[in-house]
Protein backbone atom coordinates (compact mmCIF):
# COMPACT_ATOMS: atom_id res chain seq x y z
CA UNK A 1 0.00 0.00 0.00
CA UNK A 2 1.29 3.42 -0.93
CA UNK A 3 -1.88 5.39 -0.27
CA UNK A 4 -5.13 4.47 1.43
CA UNK A 5 -8.44 6.16 2.15
CA UNK A 6 -10.00 4.51 5.18
CA UNK A 7 -13.69 5.30 5.51
CA UNK A 8 -13.18 8.89 4.36
CA UNK A 9 -16.21 11.05 3.81
CA UNK A 10 -16.89 14.69 3.20
CA UNK A 11 -20.03 16.59 4.06
CA UNK A 12 -20.96 20.24 3.49
CA UNK A 13 -23.67 20.84 6.01
CA UNK A 14 -26.38 18.34 5.13
CA UNK A 15 -25.00 17.67 1.67
CA UNK A 16 -22.87 14.58 1.34
CA UNK A 17 -20.16 15.08 -1.29
CA UNK A 18 -18.59 11.71 -0.53
CA UNK A 19 -20.02 8.92 1.60
CA UNK A 20 -17.55 6.89 3.72
CA UNK A 21 -15.22 5.33 1.17
CA UNK A 22 -12.31 2.88 1.27
CA UNK A 23 -9.74 3.01 -1.49
CA UNK A 24 -6.29 1.45 -1.55
CA UNK A 25 -3.60 2.45 -4.04
CA UNK A 26 -0.67 0.09 -4.47
CA UNK A 27 2.80 1.00 -5.67
CA UNK A 28 3.26 0.60 -9.41
CA UNK A 29 -0.38 0.95 -10.41
CA UNK A 30 -2.39 3.51 -12.31
CA UNK A 31 -5.96 3.95 -11.07
CA UNK A 32 -8.69 5.64 -13.08
CA UNK A 33 -11.40 7.42 -11.12
CA UNK A 34 -14.59 7.56 -13.14
CA UNK A 35 -18.16 8.61 -12.70
CA UNK A 36 -20.61 11.26 -13.83
CA UNK A 37 -20.32 14.91 -12.92
CA UNK A 38 -20.86 15.48 -9.19
CA UNK A 39 -20.06 11.85 -8.36
CA UNK A 40 -17.36 12.87 -5.84
CA UNK A 41 -14.22 12.21 -7.91
CA UNK A 42 -12.61 15.61 -7.28
CA UNK A 43 -13.55 15.45 -3.59
CA UNK A 44 -11.91 12.03 -3.22
CA UNK A 45 -8.74 13.24 -4.98
CA UNK A 46 -8.58 16.38 -2.80
CA UNK A 47 -9.01 14.22 0.31
CA UNK A 48 -6.26 11.86 -0.85
CA UNK A 49 -4.03 14.88 -1.56
CA UNK A 50 -4.59 16.33 1.90
CA UNK A 51 -6.10 19.49 0.42
CA UNK A 52 -9.40 18.76 2.17
CA UNK A 53 -9.95 17.49 5.67
CA UNK A 54 -12.25 14.48 5.79
CA UNK A 55 -15.44 14.77 7.81
CA UNK A 56 -14.84 11.16 8.85
CA UNK A 57 -12.13 8.57 8.32
CA UNK A 58 -8.47 9.07 7.54
CA UNK A 59 -6.01 9.06 4.67
CA UNK A 60 -2.85 7.05 5.19
CA UNK A 61 0.27 7.10 3.13
CA UNK A 62 3.42 4.99 3.17
CA UNK A 63 6.29 6.56 5.10
CA UNK A 64 8.09 9.28 3.16
CA UNK A 65 5.64 9.19 0.29
CA UNK A 66 5.29 12.54 -1.41
CA UNK A 67 2.14 13.33 -3.30
CA UNK A 68 1.73 15.58 -6.32
CA UNK A 69 -1.73 16.97 -6.98
CA UNK A 70 -3.16 18.67 -10.04
CA UNK A 71 -6.69 19.85 -9.21
CA UNK A 72 -9.33 20.19 -11.90
CA UNK A 73 -9.33 23.96 -11.56
CA UNK A 74 -5.73 25.18 -11.96
CA UNK A 75 -4.20 26.35 -8.68
CA UNK A 76 -1.49 28.97 -9.02
CA UNK A 77 -0.98 32.71 -8.60
CA UNK A 78 -2.31 34.57 -11.63
CA UNK A 79 -0.09 37.62 -11.06
CA UNK A 80 3.12 35.59 -10.95
CA UNK A 81 4.83 34.31 -14.08
CA UNK A 82 4.99 30.53 -14.67
CA UNK A 83 8.64 30.58 -13.60
CA UNK A 84 7.87 32.51 -10.42
CA UNK A 85 5.03 30.11 -9.59
CA UNK A 86 7.26 27.10 -10.17
CA UNK A 87 10.15 28.55 -8.16
CA UNK A 88 7.88 29.54 -5.26
CA UNK A 89 6.27 26.10 -5.03
CA UNK A 90 9.64 24.39 -5.59
CA UNK A 91 10.95 26.21 -2.52
CA UNK A 92 7.86 25.29 -0.52
CA UNK A 93 8.20 21.65 -1.67
CA UNK A 94 11.81 21.70 -0.48
CA UNK A 95 13.46 21.24 -3.88
CA UNK A 96 17.25 21.44 -3.50
CA UNK A 97 17.60 23.71 -6.51
CA UNK A 98 14.31 25.54 -7.10
CA UNK A 99 15.60 27.50 -10.09
CA UNK A 100 16.82 24.36 -11.86
CA UNK A 101 13.56 22.53 -11.07
CA UNK A 102 11.53 25.41 -12.50
CA UNK A 103 13.70 25.59 -15.63
CA UNK A 104 13.35 21.83 -16.20
CA UNK A 105 9.56 21.84 -15.86
CA UNK A 106 9.19 24.94 -18.05
CA UNK A 107 11.05 23.03 -20.75
CA UNK A 108 9.22 19.72 -20.28
CA UNK A 109 5.78 21.33 -20.42
CA UNK A 110 6.80 23.86 -23.07
CA UNK A 111 5.64 26.75 -20.94
CA UNK A 112 6.44 30.34 -21.91
CA UNK A 113 9.27 31.95 -19.94
CA UNK A 114 8.73 35.48 -21.22
CA UNK A 115 7.72 37.39 -18.11
CA UNK A 116 4.01 37.15 -18.92
CA UNK A 117 1.97 36.54 -15.81
CA UNK A 118 0.21 33.17 -15.51
CA UNK A 119 -3.24 34.72 -15.42
CA UNK A 120 -2.83 35.79 -19.05
CA UNK A 121 -1.86 32.32 -20.32
CA UNK A 122 -4.08 30.33 -22.67
CA UNK A 123 -6.32 27.68 -21.13
CA UNK A 124 -3.99 24.93 -22.39
CA UNK A 125 -0.90 26.58 -20.93
CA UNK A 126 -2.64 27.06 -17.61
CA UNK A 127 -3.36 23.35 -17.47
CA UNK A 128 0.26 22.58 -18.32
CA UNK A 129 1.45 24.85 -15.51
CA UNK A 130 -1.04 23.16 -13.19
CA UNK A 131 0.44 19.75 -14.09
CA UNK A 132 4.02 21.03 -13.85
CA UNK A 133 3.36 22.24 -10.31
CA UNK A 134 2.13 18.73 -9.40
CA UNK A 135 5.49 17.27 -10.39
CA UNK A 136 7.55 19.48 -8.06
CA UNK A 137 9.25 17.69 -5.18
CA UNK A 138 9.59 14.39 -7.12
CA UNK A 139 6.30 12.86 -5.89
CA UNK A 140 5.85 9.07 -5.66
CA UNK A 141 2.10 9.40 -6.09
CA UNK A 142 0.41 11.62 -8.65
CA UNK A 143 -3.22 12.63 -8.21
CA UNK A 144 -4.50 14.16 -11.44
CA UNK A 145 -8.02 15.55 -11.82
CA UNK A 146 -9.03 15.40 -15.49
CA UNK A 147 -5.43 16.12 -16.49
CA UNK A 148 -5.79 15.96 -20.26
CA UNK A 149 -8.57 18.52 -20.50
CA UNK A 150 -7.37 21.43 -22.64
CA UNK A 151 -4.14 19.67 -23.65
CA UNK A 152 -3.20 19.23 -27.28
CA UNK A 153 -2.44 15.68 -28.53
CA UNK A 154 1.32 16.16 -28.23
CA UNK A 155 1.04 17.34 -24.64
CA UNK A 156 -1.31 14.47 -23.79
CA UNK A 157 1.21 12.03 -25.14
CA UNK A 158 3.98 13.54 -23.05
CA UNK A 159 1.73 13.52 -19.96
CA UNK A 160 1.07 9.77 -20.30
CA UNK A 161 4.78 9.23 -20.73
CA UNK A 162 5.32 10.96 -17.38
CA UNK A 163 2.59 8.77 -15.86
CA UNK A 164 4.35 5.65 -17.15
CA UNK A 165 7.66 6.92 -15.77
CA UNK A 166 6.13 7.34 -12.29
CA UNK A 167 4.66 3.84 -12.42
CA UNK A 168 7.93 2.29 -13.59
CA UNK A 169 9.76 4.08 -10.79
CA UNK A 170 7.54 2.26 -8.26
CA UNK A 171 5.12 5.10 -7.72
CA UNK A 172 1.40 5.31 -8.40
CA UNK A 173 -0.99 7.51 -10.31
CA UNK A 174 -4.68 8.16 -9.67
CA UNK A 175 -6.45 10.16 -12.34
CA UNK A 176 -10.04 11.27 -12.68
CA UNK A 177 -11.44 11.23 -16.20
CA UNK A 178 -14.52 11.10 -18.33
CA UNK A 179 -12.54 9.72 -21.27
CA UNK A 180 -13.03 5.97 -21.76
CA UNK A 181 -10.07 5.70 -24.13
CA UNK A 182 -7.76 6.99 -21.46
CA UNK A 183 -9.13 4.43 -19.02
CA UNK A 184 -8.67 1.62 -21.48
CA UNK A 185 -5.26 2.81 -22.56
CA UNK A 186 -3.60 3.67 -19.26
CA UNK A 187 -5.46 2.40 -16.18
CA UNK A 188 -4.66 -0.82 -14.33
CA UNK A 189 -7.71 -0.44 -12.15
CA UNK A 190 -10.93 1.52 -12.17
CA UNK A 191 -12.74 3.07 -9.22
CA UNK A 192 -16.23 4.24 -10.08
CA UNK A 193 -18.23 6.71 -7.99
CA UNK A 194 -21.88 7.66 -8.27
CA UNK A 195 -23.69 10.20 -6.11
CA UNK A 196 -20.79 10.28 -3.68
CA UNK A 197 -20.62 6.51 -3.29
CA UNK A 198 -18.12 3.96 -4.49
CA UNK A 199 -19.97 1.58 -6.79
CA UNK A 200 -17.10 -0.31 -8.45
CA UNK A 201 -13.43 -1.02 -7.72
CA UNK A 202 -11.71 -3.48 -10.07
CA UNK A 203 -10.10 -4.12 -13.42
CA UNK A 204 -11.18 -1.97 -16.34
CA UNK A 205 -12.59 -4.96 -18.18
CA UNK A 206 -15.17 -5.53 -15.46
CA UNK A 207 -16.30 -1.94 -15.13
CA UNK A 208 -19.54 -0.67 -16.57
CA UNK A 209 -18.22 2.75 -17.52
CA UNK A 210 -21.13 4.28 -19.25
Amino acid sequence: MILRARGVSRRYGRDVALAPTDVVVEAGEVVALVGPNGAGKSTLLALLAGALEPSEGAVERADGTRIGWAPQRPAFYGRLTPRENLELFARLEGEADPVAAATRLLRVFELPDTGRVSGSLSVGNRQRLNLALALLGSPRVLLLDEPTASLDPGQRQRLWERVEAVREAGGAVVFATQNLEEVAGHADRVVKLEDGRLVFDGEPAGAVLA
Partner: protein, 441 residues
Protein backbone atom coordinates in the same frame (compact mmCIF):
# COMPACT_ATOMS: atom_id res chain seq x y z
CA UNK B 1 11.01 30.97 6.24
CA UNK B 2 7.77 29.90 4.52
CA UNK B 3 6.07 33.01 5.88
CA UNK B 4 8.82 35.10 4.31
CA UNK B 5 8.37 33.29 0.98
CA UNK B 6 4.65 34.08 1.04
CA UNK B 7 5.29 37.66 2.12
CA UNK B 8 7.72 38.15 -0.75
CA UNK B 9 5.16 36.67 -3.11
CA UNK B 10 2.42 38.99 -1.78
CA UNK B 11 4.62 42.06 -2.13
CA UNK B 12 5.47 41.04 -5.69
CA UNK B 13 1.78 40.58 -6.49
CA UNK B 14 1.02 43.93 -4.88
CA UNK B 15 3.60 45.58 -7.10
CA UNK B 16 1.97 43.99 -10.15
CA UNK B 17 -1.52 45.24 -9.30
CA UNK B 18 -1.36 48.69 -10.92
CA UNK B 19 -4.70 49.92 -9.62
CA UNK B 20 -3.98 48.80 -6.08
CA UNK B 21 -0.40 50.11 -6.18
CA UNK B 22 -1.71 53.46 -7.47
CA UNK B 23 -4.21 53.62 -4.62
CA UNK B 24 -1.47 52.75 -2.15
CA UNK B 25 0.74 55.54 -3.48
CA UNK B 26 -2.02 58.09 -4.00
CA UNK B 27 -3.88 57.43 -0.78
CA UNK B 28 -1.14 58.60 1.59
CA UNK B 29 -0.45 61.61 -0.61
CA UNK B 30 -4.12 62.61 -0.63
CA UNK B 31 -4.41 62.04 3.10
CA UNK B 32 -1.22 64.04 3.75
CA UNK B 33 -2.54 66.82 1.53
CA UNK B 34 -5.88 66.89 3.33
CA UNK B 35 -4.15 66.81 6.68
CA UNK B 36 -1.91 69.62 5.53
CA UNK B 37 -4.96 71.63 4.52
CA UNK B 38 -6.56 71.03 7.90
CA UNK B 39 -3.30 71.93 9.61
CA UNK B 40 -3.06 75.05 7.48
CA UNK B 41 -6.63 75.91 8.33
CA UNK B 42 -5.88 75.37 12.02
CA UNK B 43 -3.02 77.84 11.88
CA UNK B 44 -4.78 80.31 9.56
CA UNK B 45 -6.42 83.49 10.82
CA UNK B 46 -10.20 83.55 10.42
CA UNK B 47 -11.57 86.68 8.74
CA UNK B 48 -13.50 88.85 11.19
CA UNK B 49 -15.42 92.01 10.30
CA UNK B 50 -14.73 95.14 12.35
CA UNK B 51 -17.75 97.44 12.31
CA UNK B 52 -16.78 100.88 13.54
CA UNK B 53 -19.96 102.68 14.64
CA UNK B 54 -17.98 105.05 16.89
CA UNK B 55 -15.79 106.38 14.06
CA UNK B 56 -12.56 105.50 15.80
CA UNK B 57 -9.94 108.22 15.33
CA UNK B 58 -6.45 107.36 14.08
CA UNK B 59 -5.09 107.94 17.59
CA UNK B 60 -6.82 107.65 20.95
CA UNK B 61 -5.41 109.15 24.16
CA UNK B 62 -6.13 107.02 27.21
CA UNK B 63 -4.71 107.89 30.62
CA UNK B 64 -2.38 110.37 29.02
CA UNK B 65 -0.98 107.76 26.62
CA UNK B 66 -1.59 107.96 22.90
CA UNK B 67 -2.59 104.81 20.98
CA UNK B 68 -2.34 104.29 17.22
CA UNK B 69 -5.67 102.44 16.76
CA UNK B 70 -4.77 100.39 13.65
CA UNK B 71 -1.34 99.45 15.00
CA UNK B 72 -2.82 98.44 18.35
CA UNK B 73 -5.46 96.26 16.67
CA UNK B 74 -2.80 94.65 14.48
CA UNK B 75 -0.61 93.97 17.50
CA UNK B 76 -3.29 92.31 19.63
CA UNK B 77 -5.16 90.45 16.86
CA UNK B 78 -2.62 87.67 16.39
CA UNK B 79 -5.20 84.96 15.71
CA UNK B 80 -7.78 86.77 13.59
CA UNK B 81 -7.65 88.99 10.52
CA UNK B 82 -9.79 92.10 10.90
CA UNK B 83 -11.44 93.71 7.90
CA UNK B 84 -13.24 97.02 8.33
CA UNK B 85 -16.79 96.78 6.94
CA UNK B 86 -19.96 98.78 7.17
CA UNK B 87 -22.76 97.27 9.29
CA UNK B 88 -24.65 96.19 6.15
CA UNK B 89 -21.61 94.61 4.49
CA UNK B 90 -20.65 92.85 7.71
CA UNK B 91 -24.13 91.37 8.12
CA UNK B 92 -24.11 90.19 4.49
CA UNK B 93 -20.65 88.64 4.68
CA UNK B 94 -21.48 86.95 7.96
CA UNK B 95 -24.55 85.42 6.34
CA UNK B 96 -22.61 84.18 3.35
CA UNK B 97 -19.72 82.93 5.46
CA UNK B 98 -17.13 85.31 4.02
CA UNK B 99 -16.42 86.46 7.56
CA UNK B 100 -16.78 84.15 10.54
CA UNK B 101 -17.70 86.90 13.01
CA UNK B 102 -18.31 90.61 13.37
CA UNK B 103 -16.96 92.75 16.17
CA UNK B 104 -18.89 95.99 16.47
CA UNK B 105 -17.46 99.10 18.15
CA UNK B 106 -20.66 100.82 19.36
CA UNK B 107 -21.09 104.62 19.59
CA UNK B 108 -19.52 106.08 22.76
CA UNK B 109 -16.83 103.43 22.97
CA UNK B 110 -13.86 105.84 22.89
CA UNK B 111 -15.55 108.25 25.32
CA UNK B 112 -16.08 105.43 27.84
CA UNK B 113 -12.52 104.30 27.31
CA UNK B 114 -11.07 107.74 27.99
CA UNK B 115 -13.33 108.52 30.97
CA UNK B 116 -12.09 105.44 32.79
CA UNK B 117 -15.33 105.40 34.76
CA UNK B 118 -17.18 102.48 33.18
CA UNK B 119 -16.05 99.62 30.95
CA UNK B 120 -16.60 100.22 27.24
CA UNK B 121 -18.23 97.33 25.35
CA UNK B 122 -17.55 95.50 22.09
CA UNK B 123 -20.32 93.45 20.49
CA UNK B 124 -19.42 90.02 19.03
CA UNK B 125 -21.65 88.22 16.57
CA UNK B 126 -20.68 84.85 15.10
CA UNK B 127 -22.04 82.26 12.71
CA UNK B 128 -23.66 79.15 14.10
CA UNK B 129 -21.23 76.56 12.80
CA UNK B 130 -18.53 74.24 14.00
CA UNK B 131 -16.01 77.06 13.90
CA UNK B 132 -17.96 79.30 16.33
CA UNK B 133 -16.28 78.17 19.57
CA UNK B 134 -12.84 78.69 18.02
CA UNK B 135 -13.67 82.17 16.74
CA UNK B 136 -15.23 83.14 20.07
CA UNK B 137 -12.07 81.96 21.81
CA UNK B 138 -9.90 83.95 19.45
CA UNK B 139 -11.92 87.15 19.87
CA UNK B 140 -11.88 86.63 23.64
CA UNK B 141 -8.11 86.29 23.42
CA UNK B 142 -8.00 89.50 21.41
CA UNK B 143 -10.07 91.38 24.02
CA UNK B 144 -7.85 89.91 26.73
CA UNK B 145 -4.75 91.25 24.95
CA UNK B 146 -6.39 94.64 24.45
CA UNK B 147 -7.36 94.75 28.12
CA UNK B 148 -3.80 94.00 29.14
CA UNK B 149 -2.51 96.88 27.03
CA UNK B 150 -5.11 99.24 28.51
CA UNK B 151 -4.51 97.91 31.98
CA UNK B 152 -0.86 98.96 31.88
CA UNK B 153 -1.95 102.41 30.67
CA UNK B 154 -4.54 102.72 33.45
CA UNK B 155 -1.97 101.63 36.02
CA UNK B 156 0.51 104.18 34.67
CA UNK B 157 -2.17 106.89 34.90
CA UNK B 158 -3.03 105.93 38.47
CA UNK B 159 0.63 105.86 39.35
CA UNK B 160 1.01 109.39 38.06
CA UNK B 161 -1.60 110.49 40.62
CA UNK B 162 0.31 108.58 43.29
CA UNK B 163 3.52 110.32 42.21
CA UNK B 164 1.67 113.63 42.42
CA UNK B 165 0.62 112.89 46.01
CA UNK B 166 4.16 111.80 46.83
CA UNK B 167 6.15 114.55 45.21
CA UNK B 168 3.56 117.27 44.48
CA UNK B 169 3.24 119.54 41.43
CA UNK B 170 0.61 120.42 38.78
CA UNK B 171 -2.13 117.87 38.02
CA UNK B 172 -5.42 117.53 36.14
CA UNK B 173 -8.59 115.41 36.47
CA UNK B 174 -11.49 115.41 34.05
CA UNK B 175 -9.99 118.54 32.44
CA UNK B 176 -9.63 120.48 35.71
CA UNK B 177 -6.10 121.67 36.55
CA UNK B 178 -4.77 122.00 40.11
CA UNK B 179 -1.58 122.16 42.23
CA UNK B 180 -0.73 119.45 44.76
CA UNK B 181 1.59 120.10 47.75
CA UNK B 182 2.84 116.49 47.93
CA UNK B 183 4.11 114.49 50.86
CA UNK B 184 7.78 115.41 50.24
CA UNK B 185 7.10 119.16 50.59
CA UNK B 186 4.70 118.53 53.48
CA UNK B 187 7.54 116.76 55.28
CA UNK B 188 9.88 119.70 54.59
CA UNK B 189 7.26 122.18 55.86
CA UNK B 190 6.75 120.12 59.00
CA UNK B 191 10.51 120.16 59.68
CA UNK B 192 10.29 124.01 59.74
CA UNK B 193 7.62 124.00 62.47
CA UNK B 194 8.56 124.07 66.19
CA UNK B 195 8.82 120.51 67.56
CA UNK B 196 5.90 119.22 69.48
CA UNK B 197 3.89 116.04 70.06
CA UNK B 198 1.28 116.84 67.39
CA UNK B 199 3.86 117.82 64.75
CA UNK B 200 5.79 114.66 65.51
CA UNK B 201 2.66 112.52 64.97
CA UNK B 202 1.92 114.27 61.65
CA UNK B 203 5.52 113.76 60.51
CA UNK B 204 5.28 110.03 61.42
CA UNK B 205 2.10 109.76 59.34
CA UNK B 206 3.72 111.52 56.37
CA UNK B 207 6.72 109.19 56.60
CA UNK B 208 4.49 106.06 56.70
CA UNK B 209 2.39 107.34 53.82
CA UNK B 210 5.47 108.03 51.65
CA UNK B 211 6.78 104.55 52.40
CA UNK B 212 3.45 102.90 51.60
CA UNK B 213 2.80 104.89 48.43
CA UNK B 214 6.29 104.08 47.17
CA UNK B 215 5.13 100.40 46.96
CA UNK B 216 1.90 101.25 45.12
CA UNK B 217 3.27 100.61 41.61
CA UNK B 218 4.28 97.00 42.29
CA UNK B 219 1.07 96.37 44.25
CA UNK B 220 -1.15 97.72 41.44
CA UNK B 221 0.59 95.61 38.84
CA UNK B 222 0.33 92.54 41.07
CA UNK B 223 -3.40 93.03 41.74
CA UNK B 224 -4.05 93.68 38.03
CA UNK B 225 -2.70 90.18 37.22
CA UNK B 226 -3.02 88.09 40.41
CA UNK B 227 -2.08 84.97 38.41
CA UNK B 228 0.04 85.16 35.30
CA UNK B 229 0.34 82.18 32.98
CA UNK B 230 3.88 81.65 31.79
CA UNK B 231 4.44 78.93 29.21
CA UNK B 232 7.50 76.89 30.11
CA UNK B 233 9.91 76.23 27.23
CA UNK B 234 9.38 72.46 26.87
CA UNK B 235 9.68 69.85 24.13
CA UNK B 236 6.25 68.52 24.96
CA UNK B 237 3.09 68.48 22.91
CA UNK B 238 3.66 71.34 20.59
CA UNK B 239 0.53 71.86 18.66
CA UNK B 240 -2.42 69.88 19.88
CA UNK B 241 -4.49 70.09 16.73
CA UNK B 242 -1.74 69.07 14.33
CA UNK B 243 -0.70 66.23 16.65
CA UNK B 244 -4.21 64.82 16.78
CA UNK B 245 -4.82 65.35 13.09
CA UNK B 246 -1.60 63.57 12.14
CA UNK B 247 -2.26 60.68 14.54
CA UNK B 248 -5.79 60.24 13.19
CA UNK B 249 -4.66 60.56 9.58
CA UNK B 250 -2.07 57.83 10.06
CA UNK B 251 -4.42 55.51 11.91
CA UNK B 252 -7.23 56.11 9.43
CA UNK B 253 -5.05 55.42 6.40
CA UNK B 254 -3.43 52.26 7.66
CA UNK B 255 -6.76 51.00 9.01
CA UNK B 256 -8.31 51.26 5.56
CA UNK B 257 -5.33 49.84 3.75
CA UNK B 258 -4.38 47.00 6.05
CA UNK B 259 -7.89 45.77 6.69
CA UNK B 260 -8.77 45.70 3.01
CA UNK B 261 -5.39 44.31 1.97
CA UNK B 262 -5.22 41.52 4.56
CA UNK B 263 -8.86 40.53 4.07
CA UNK B 264 -8.63 40.63 0.28
CA UNK B 265 -5.30 38.86 -0.05
CA UNK B 266 -6.24 36.00 2.30
CA UNK B 267 -9.52 35.46 0.49
CA UNK B 268 -7.68 35.69 -2.86
CA UNK B 269 -5.69 32.56 -1.90
CA UNK B 270 -8.99 30.72 -2.06
CA UNK B 271 -10.18 32.52 -5.18
CA UNK B 272 -7.05 31.37 -7.00
CA UNK B 273 -7.54 27.85 -5.64
CA UNK B 274 -4.04 27.99 -4.20
CA UNK B 275 -4.97 27.64 -0.56
CA UNK B 276 -5.78 23.96 -1.08
CA UNK B 277 -2.40 23.37 -2.73
CA UNK B 278 -0.64 25.17 0.13
CA UNK B 279 -2.64 23.52 2.88
CA UNK B 280 -1.68 19.97 1.95
CA UNK B 281 1.46 20.19 4.04
CA UNK B 282 3.35 22.95 2.23
CA UNK B 283 2.19 25.85 4.39
CA UNK B 284 0.13 25.73 7.56
CA UNK B 285 -2.96 27.88 7.80
CA UNK B 286 -1.29 29.66 10.73
CA UNK B 287 1.68 30.50 8.52
CA UNK B 288 -0.67 31.74 5.81
CA UNK B 289 -2.41 34.07 8.29
CA UNK B 290 1.00 35.18 9.62
CA UNK B 291 2.10 36.07 6.09
CA UNK B 292 -0.95 38.32 5.69
CA UNK B 293 -0.30 39.93 9.06
CA UNK B 294 3.32 40.54 8.01
CA UNK B 295 2.12 41.99 4.70
CA UNK B 296 -0.20 44.40 6.52
CA UNK B 297 2.60 45.41 8.91
CA UNK B 298 5.03 46.03 6.03
CA UNK B 299 2.51 48.11 4.07
CA UNK B 300 1.53 50.05 7.21
CA UNK B 301 5.18 50.85 7.87
CA UNK B 302 5.95 52.05 4.34
CA UNK B 303 2.71 53.98 3.80
CA UNK B 304 2.66 55.37 7.34
CA UNK B 305 6.21 56.67 7.11
CA UNK B 306 5.43 58.17 3.69
CA UNK B 307 2.50 60.06 5.23
CA UNK B 308 4.58 61.16 8.21
CA UNK B 309 7.30 62.42 5.88
CA UNK B 310 4.85 64.25 3.62
CA UNK B 311 3.05 65.70 6.61
CA UNK B 312 6.34 66.70 8.21
CA UNK B 313 7.42 68.54 5.08
CA UNK B 314 4.10 70.44 5.01
CA UNK B 315 4.50 71.29 8.71
CA UNK B 316 8.06 72.53 8.16
CA UNK B 317 7.25 74.53 5.03
CA UNK B 318 4.20 76.09 6.69
CA UNK B 319 6.33 77.07 9.68
CA UNK B 320 3.89 75.51 12.12
CA UNK B 321 4.86 76.10 15.75
CA UNK B 322 7.00 73.25 17.09
CA UNK B 323 7.68 71.74 13.68
CA UNK B 324 7.74 68.01 12.96
CA UNK B 325 9.44 65.84 15.60
CA UNK B 326 11.68 63.99 13.18
CA UNK B 327 13.63 62.18 15.90
CA UNK B 328 10.44 60.38 16.89
CA UNK B 329 10.00 58.70 13.51
CA UNK B 330 11.69 55.42 14.59
CA UNK B 331 9.27 55.15 17.52
CA UNK B 332 6.42 55.94 15.16
CA UNK B 333 7.73 53.16 12.90
CA UNK B 334 7.40 50.65 15.74
CA UNK B 335 3.83 51.79 16.27
CA UNK B 336 3.05 51.50 12.57
CA UNK B 337 4.32 47.91 12.49
CA UNK B 338 2.35 46.96 15.61
CA UNK B 339 -0.82 48.70 14.47
CA UNK B 340 -0.46 47.29 10.94
CA UNK B 341 -0.02 43.78 12.31
CA UNK B 342 -2.96 44.10 14.67
CA UNK B 343 -5.23 45.53 11.98
CA UNK B 344 -3.88 42.94 9.52
CA UNK B 345 -4.90 40.15 11.89
CA UNK B 346 -8.40 41.65 12.07
CA UNK B 347 -8.40 41.91 8.26
CA UNK B 348 -7.28 38.28 7.95
CA UNK B 349 -10.17 37.28 10.19
CA UNK B 350 -12.58 39.15 7.91
CA UNK B 351 -10.98 37.52 4.85
CA UNK B 352 -11.37 34.07 6.39
CA UNK B 353 -15.00 34.72 7.24
CA UNK B 354 -15.88 36.27 3.86
CA UNK B 355 -13.85 33.68 1.83
CA UNK B 356 -14.11 35.54 -1.49
CA UNK B 357 -11.75 38.42 -2.27
CA UNK B 358 -14.42 40.85 -3.47
CA UNK B 359 -16.74 40.08 -0.59
CA UNK B 360 -13.84 40.29 1.83
CA UNK B 361 -12.79 43.71 0.55
CA UNK B 362 -16.36 44.98 0.78
CA UNK B 363 -16.79 43.57 4.29
CA UNK B 364 -13.47 45.15 5.32
CA UNK B 365 -14.62 48.54 4.02
CA UNK B 366 -17.93 48.18 5.84
CA UNK B 367 -16.18 47.19 9.05
CA UNK B 368 -13.49 49.85 8.99
CA UNK B 369 -15.95 52.76 9.15
CA UNK B 370 -17.57 51.84 12.49
CA UNK B 371 -14.14 50.87 13.83
CA UNK B 372 -12.86 54.35 13.00
CA UNK B 373 -15.97 56.18 14.19
CA UNK B 374 -15.93 54.32 17.51
CA UNK B 375 -12.35 55.43 17.94
CA UNK B 376 -13.33 59.04 17.29
CA UNK B 377 -16.06 59.15 19.95
CA UNK B 378 -14.58 60.58 23.17
CA UNK B 379 -14.84 57.95 25.89
CA UNK B 380 -15.68 60.70 28.40
CA UNK B 381 -18.90 61.35 26.48
CA UNK B 382 -19.91 57.80 25.51
CA UNK B 383 -18.20 55.32 27.86
CA UNK B 384 -19.72 52.31 26.04
CA UNK B 385 -18.08 53.41 22.79
CA UNK B 386 -14.77 53.60 24.63
CA UNK B 387 -15.14 50.05 25.89
CA UNK B 388 -15.94 48.69 22.40
CA UNK B 389 -13.19 50.80 20.89
CA UNK B 390 -10.70 49.34 23.36
CA UNK B 391 -11.36 45.94 21.82
CA UNK B 392 -10.34 47.23 18.37
CA UNK B 393 -6.90 48.41 17.24
CA UNK B 394 -7.81 51.85 15.82
CA UNK B 395 -8.04 53.88 19.04
CA UNK B 396 -4.87 52.27 20.40
CA UNK B 397 -3.07 53.09 17.16
CA UNK B 398 -4.18 56.75 17.43
CA UNK B 399 -2.97 57.00 21.03
CA UNK B 400 0.33 55.29 20.19
CA UNK B 401 1.00 57.62 17.25
CA UNK B 402 -0.04 60.70 19.19
CA UNK B 403 2.17 59.85 22.18
CA UNK B 404 5.13 58.76 20.07
CA UNK B 405 5.05 61.98 18.06
CA UNK B 406 4.28 64.62 20.65
CA UNK B 407 4.42 63.50 24.27
CA UNK B 408 7.47 64.76 26.12
CA UNK B 409 7.62 61.43 28.00
CA UNK B 410 5.95 58.93 25.69
CA UNK B 411 7.26 55.65 27.12
CA UNK B 412 4.46 54.75 29.53
CA UNK B 413 1.55 55.43 27.13
CA UNK B 414 3.46 53.93 24.21
CA UNK B 415 4.21 50.75 26.18
CA UNK B 416 0.58 50.48 27.25
CA UNK B 417 -0.77 50.94 23.72
CA UNK B 418 1.88 48.60 22.29
CA UNK B 419 0.71 45.91 24.72
CA UNK B 420 -2.90 46.52 23.65
CA UNK B 421 -2.02 46.31 19.96
CA UNK B 422 0.06 43.17 20.44
CA UNK B 423 -2.65 41.53 22.54
CA UNK B 424 -5.40 42.39 20.06
CA UNK B 425 -3.17 41.23 17.20
CA UNK B 426 -2.65 37.83 18.83
CA UNK B 427 -6.37 37.49 19.62
CA UNK B 428 -7.47 38.37 16.09
CA UNK B 429 -4.65 36.25 14.64
CA UNK B 430 -5.80 33.17 16.56
CA UNK B 431 -9.40 33.82 15.48
CA UNK B 432 -8.24 34.26 11.87
CA UNK B 433 -6.28 30.99 12.05
CA UNK B 434 -9.39 29.16 13.27
CA UNK B 435 -11.54 30.87 10.65
CA UNK B 436 -9.06 30.07 7.87
CA UNK B 437 -10.32 26.49 7.83
CA UNK B 438 -13.32 27.91 5.99
CA UNK B 439 -11.03 28.71 3.07
CA UNK B 440 -10.57 25.01 2.42
CA UNK B 441 -14.28 24.39 1.89
Amino acid sequence: MRVLLLLRKDLRILRRSPALAAVLVAYPLVIAGLVGLVAGYASSKPRVALVDEDHLPARVVVGGQSFDVNRTIARVSRNVRFVRLSPGEAARELRTGKVVATVTVPPGFVADLQAMVRSPRLILETTHGGITPRVTQQVQALVYSLNRELQSVYIAANLRYVELILHGGPGSFLGRKFQVLGLDRTDRLLRGLPPGKRVSRIRDFVGDARLALAQTGAALRATANPIELVRAPDRGRTWALSAEVQAYALALTISFLTLVLAAGSLAAERDENVVARLARGLVGLGELVSAKVALAAAVALVVGLAIALAFGVIIQVSGVTGGEPWVRLPLLGVGLVLAGASLGALGALLGAVAREARTASLVALLVVLPVVFLGLVPREIVPAAGVVSDALPFAHAVRFFSSSLYDARPWAPVAREAAWLAGLGVAFGVAARLGARRLLV
